[in-house]
Assembly symmetry: C2
DNA sequence: GGCTTTGGTTCACTATATTGAATTTTTTGC
DNA sequence: GCAAAAAATTCAATATAGTGAACCAAAGCC
């Protein structure tokens, strides 16, 4: 469900102000926004300007984006633990069968974060097109040795090492060694 | 470094509009904001009202909070691979030495995403206070068996399984088994 | 009781965000 | 090249966000 009117910043600001034990006057002084304006904003009977909101958030020590963020104060969903069993975990295999990816992230999620348990047989490789601009990839090798190739560059990653790189251009992960390799791969969208 | 003036919404809006192949006129019509206003906002020579920003974000199909969010659109850093060697990877140990966390995420990053390679000796446990509201944790067991305890609930997680839960309340991860356990832990802020 | 102080709301005025029409600039066709 | 069309910018007028002072209400304090 999505809102059809601007978020009610008034309430939030008032809450924050009282939380800080600030008087209407006090916040007015330190933010440079007039007391009367503040009063009206808090009661929702005016339509504040980006500039004044900015001043207020600065004095309240919060991020302006978070002020407008409608993720209501703490979902009150009862503490729940959901378990994805090993056999339920989705797995992708490459055509040659040398590369397998187990998707560890939640499926439902239109997430900005994806992560995988990757297994590469000797000689296997994972070829990726570029993802969305700004995406970074983090590859931690758990067992074996891997090469990361991106643009002209190549890097060798051994067990325990982590490689980080921009994933918005084509890149390649190869297992040039004699043994199976296993790694954790994290893809972070901006 | 924090900004000392409101975020430049103009540029962002223009970028979004052109991305959608919308004309100034077009967006004006569908949002109800006048064409002239739009033009001025995009060029940053006015201080728009929360209301008008709301209308615009609605028509552009984005969240108003994200509009004000200053996570710059994609650094154009040249393709680089940075490697954190195993011995450079920061490791945290519990007082009793039964629990060790290797921090796999980048250090610099004031990231919304943190992840760890966790090792729990038999009998060891990791006690967490609640993180920021809305935070979720994803725990994939690589070896051994672990218990997750949160509120009154307990869940047993075996090798290959993944547990997901709200991490904004105190929670506990225990190794009740006879053998060392190893797991991957991901903490996602909202 | 009345006097003072403190936190908040209303009021009259000013500054400016917003508008619709006119104008300029850019694009597209011939 | 020049016209016609489309897109973006200026301009004068209006609505309203923002201000400071006056006003009201409640809480000390003598």
């Amino acid at each position: 469900m999505t809102r059809n009117s601007p978020p009610d910043v008034g309430q939030k600001i008032k809450a924050l102000r009282t939380q800080e034990k600030l008087t209407l006057d006090g916040l007015a002084k330190m933010s440079g926004v007039s007391k009367s304006m503040l009063s009206q904003i808090e009661r929702g009977l005016t339509n504040p300007t980006l500039g004044t909101l900015w001043s207020l958030t600065q004095s309240l020590g919060i991020d302006i984006a978070s002020l407008l963020d409608d993720s209501e104060s703490a979902g009150d969903t009862a503490p729940e633990i959901t378990v994805t069993k090993a056999y339920e975990t989705p797995e992708i295999q490459s055509a040659d069968g040398l590369c397998a990816l187990r998707i560890l992230g939640p499926i439902d999620l239109v997430s900005k974060t994806e992560w995988y348990d990757m297994r590469l047989e000797a000689g296997g490789c994972l070829d990726s097109e570029g993802h969305a601009s700004g995406t970074t990839e983090h590859l931690t090798v758990l067992e074996g040795v891997l090469n990361v190739r991106i643009g002209g560059k190549v890097q060798t990653i051994e067990a325990g090492d982590t490689a980080r790189y921009q994933a918005d251009v084509p890149h390649k992960i190869e297992n040039k060694g004699q043994n199976q390799a296993r790694a954790l791969m994290l893809v972070l969208a901006p």
